[in-house]
Symmetry: C2
Subunit: 432 residues, 2 copies
């Protein structure tokens, strides 16, 4: 039987999961593919910590460069993370003609063009299924399953930590700070949680998906990013009363008007499949011009799920190696005219607004008039009894209008003396 030599760089959570998965199912993979996967080296600076699996100590090394040079190793798996040494090692591996498998979304989002160019130059596989959506084979679906489609929209719940926090806030009616603290204590959120809760991790993944879907270069500056730090249990509760859930979404759209990429908390109707995605699960909706709406769901992070995606890529790389078709599917193919990114103010959407109004006659009429003055139609209104200091919460769901008009209207409204706190405002995603 043929075999494929694998070198793993980074023996952390996912690295250990990959080793465990290959030890468990290596023979099954060999039966399925005719190629036996063989781990030939594992590089990490820490060779002592217990990873909960038995590994031949002779495989362990601190010398990543030697792993890349090893002629017995055809596939380099980069699981170090970050954009420093990981970038250098991935480039070195591609230069050496090795297939590279990585889970590193930050690296792809920030240095994608350089890596894609190196993969092309050296005709080496650069595979990154595990970078986005954890165990969900979403990269493969976009790149292969839907290869006949022009991608019109991708909408994803891509960060398990945020979705876990929002789910618990809704189910248990708890405030953000408390759920975050408990999530940190339970290991569901990092001690430094900003990458997750401020939306940057989701934005990294949005860049990876948009680059792939549209065949054009996208970078982090193209993404408007808003996290979930400001989402209150109050708004989650009101949204629920109106039949909606608040989710942190990566929204990627392309139409005749241009490309739009954003990360923000938004309301989605509870009837939609994405609304059923709870706790640390991820899901990605993809709309193609031929296939229509498709959706992919699974565990978006964690040792085993991410390892599953990495191993799927290792198998792919192994098949390409044996078939002598490295770079069978390019890491990046420019295939879309450079359609302009849409200016945020031009984006047309519906909104959820929560106003804090003084309890006086005539104020709602004033607000309604200001919205109308900016061509914003009200779809529904819910007025609640005052909770604090005389501020009456009024929730408005609007019809669609330009974001620019919304901002102008809200600036006027929030300047009123009778408006006691800045108006809270979230988009409603309708998936039309």
């Amino acid at each position: 039987m043929k075999s494929i030599g694998i070198g793993i760089l980074g023996f952390g959570t996912v690295g250990a999961g990959v080793v465990e998965g290959l030890l468990k199912n290596g023979d099954l993979i060999a039966a399925r593919t005719g190629i036996q996967p063989v781990i030939r080296a594992i590089a990490d600076l820490d060779l002592e910590s217990d990873r909960g699996i038995e590994v031949d100590r002779a495989l362990l090394t601190t010398d990543a460069a030697a792993v890349i040079r090893d002629p017995e190793i055809q596939v380099i798996v980069e699981l170090i993370g970050g954009t420093g040494i990981a970038r250098t090692l991935v480039l070195d591996a591609l230069k050496a003609g090795k297939s590279v498998v990585t889970a590193n979304k930050a690296l792809l989002a920030e240095h994608g063009p350089e890596l894609y160019a190196a993969a092309e130059q050296y005709q080496a596989d650069l595979l990154f299924e595990a970078s986005t959506g954890g165990g969900i084979p979403i990269i493969r679906a976009l790149r292969e399953g839907l290869s006949g489609n022009r991608i019109e929209e991708i909408c994803g719940i891509l960060n398990g930590t945020c979705n876990y926090i929002l789910t618990r806030m809704e189910n248990e009616k708890l405030p953000f700070d408390q759920v975050l603290r408990e999530a940190q204590e339970a290991g569901y959120a990092e001690a430094e949680p900003s990458l997750d809760i401020d939306g940057f991790d989701t934005a990294h993944k949005a860049v990876v998906l948009a680059t792939l879907a549209f065949g054009r270069s996208i970078n982090m500056d193209d993404v408007a990013v808003q996290g979930i730090r400001e989402v209150s249990a109050t708004d989650i509760e009101y949204a629920a009363e109106l039949g909606y859930r608040i989710k942190l979404l990566a929204v990627i759209k392309q139409n005749g008007h241009g490309v739009e990429i954003g990360v923000y908390p938004a309301l989605i109707t509870r009837q939609h499949m994405l609304a059923s995605v709870s706790h640390a699960f991820n899901a990605v909706l993809v709309r193609g011009d031929i296939v229509g709406e498709t959706l992919y769901y699974g565990q978006g992070a964690g040792r085993a799920a991410t390892a599953s995606a990495v191993i799927g890529d290792i198998v792919d790389a192994a098949r390409n190696h044996v078939g002598e078709t490295p770079y069978r599917i390019p890491a990046f193919v420019p295939c879309s005219p450079e359609v302009a990114l849409r200016a945020p103010e031009d984006i047309v959407t519906r909104y959820y607004l929560r106003l804090s109004l003084k309890d006086e006659p005539g104020i709602f009429a004033l607000v309604a008039q200001m919205l109308a003055g900016h061509n914003i139609n009200i779809a529904s209104v819910m007025q609640k009894e005052a909770r604090t200091c005389g501020a009456v919460p009024v929730i408005i769901l609007t019809h669609s209008a330009c974001e620019g008009e919304f901002r102008a209207a809200l600036a006027e409204i929030d300047a009123l003396d009778q408006v006691l706190a800045p108006t809270v405002c979230y988009r409603i995603e309708d998936f039309t």
Copy 2:
């Protein structure tokens, strides 16, 4: 630029969709892959009907054999359907070393081993993404994305007609016969609906998925099939009151006890993603031993969605042709010991029972005693007011027990004079 010659056999709904899709996005595919797809022939007995697309008449022919022989054609797309001439043509094409793309689940379910053997013998691609789940790239997910996983469970809503009927029955509280009639009038169901509503189409797809997932030969006789003809609006309503929906499921499980493959209407909790799959949509849950639970959702049938899957396979075949790696991924790989199929009576599951009891004291106690006598625990009971002729509907949800015990208990119960109609009985799928 390289090109790939495509011959289409069968110019019906899907055939026209494939032609339309290739005309629309052929240049995009060429940009993505470096390979221009070129339709070189379209064979059908009917060359006159209007398919709603403009096609060069010189491409049309009634001679399918000539299409297969054409040296300019590398990919044969079989969209004739059925197991007669389609089988012969697919075998001929494989023998001629052509890549074959098919959407024909009946053919695969009934003649799979013969076709898989021919593909192997002639080292020719046999691709069938469109056979199952319409536009959902589920075959690719199983075969490539999850290639590192042992598949433990697949549970799918795989027939759009049945799901459409069940959705309307629930939403509009209508009886089966009326919804079926209206679906037929609207073109959502065939004039001869048995293949769909009696579960055979779902069973064909279950055979395709199980064969692939388990790497063992499965045939239609291995599948216990029950359709939705007997599902009543009453049971749908009671299930809803208890927090469940009734869906026609293909259930495929493999564990230490063996393999279990069945098609039947079952209750699933409304919290589960599969319960949100409504109307003609399809979804497939796949549980792998490493990745855990994943789910794939999209349009399960129809001209465009099925065409998307066919075109994805054409692209794959084109890449394999250009890379000189035909048969890169075998159509079938035996990779699983021949684990025995589980006898239905050994299958352990929960049940929904609807009994029609005479309104007399002590009967429920008698029924409960008979269930207990077969080690069947009651999880919950709902007694409704009598609707007809004094029969009191009593709904029981049970804890798990063997199907054999259930059957024995129900035989005893239904023999009671005070039981006025045969007990209605559906499985509850818990996805544990």
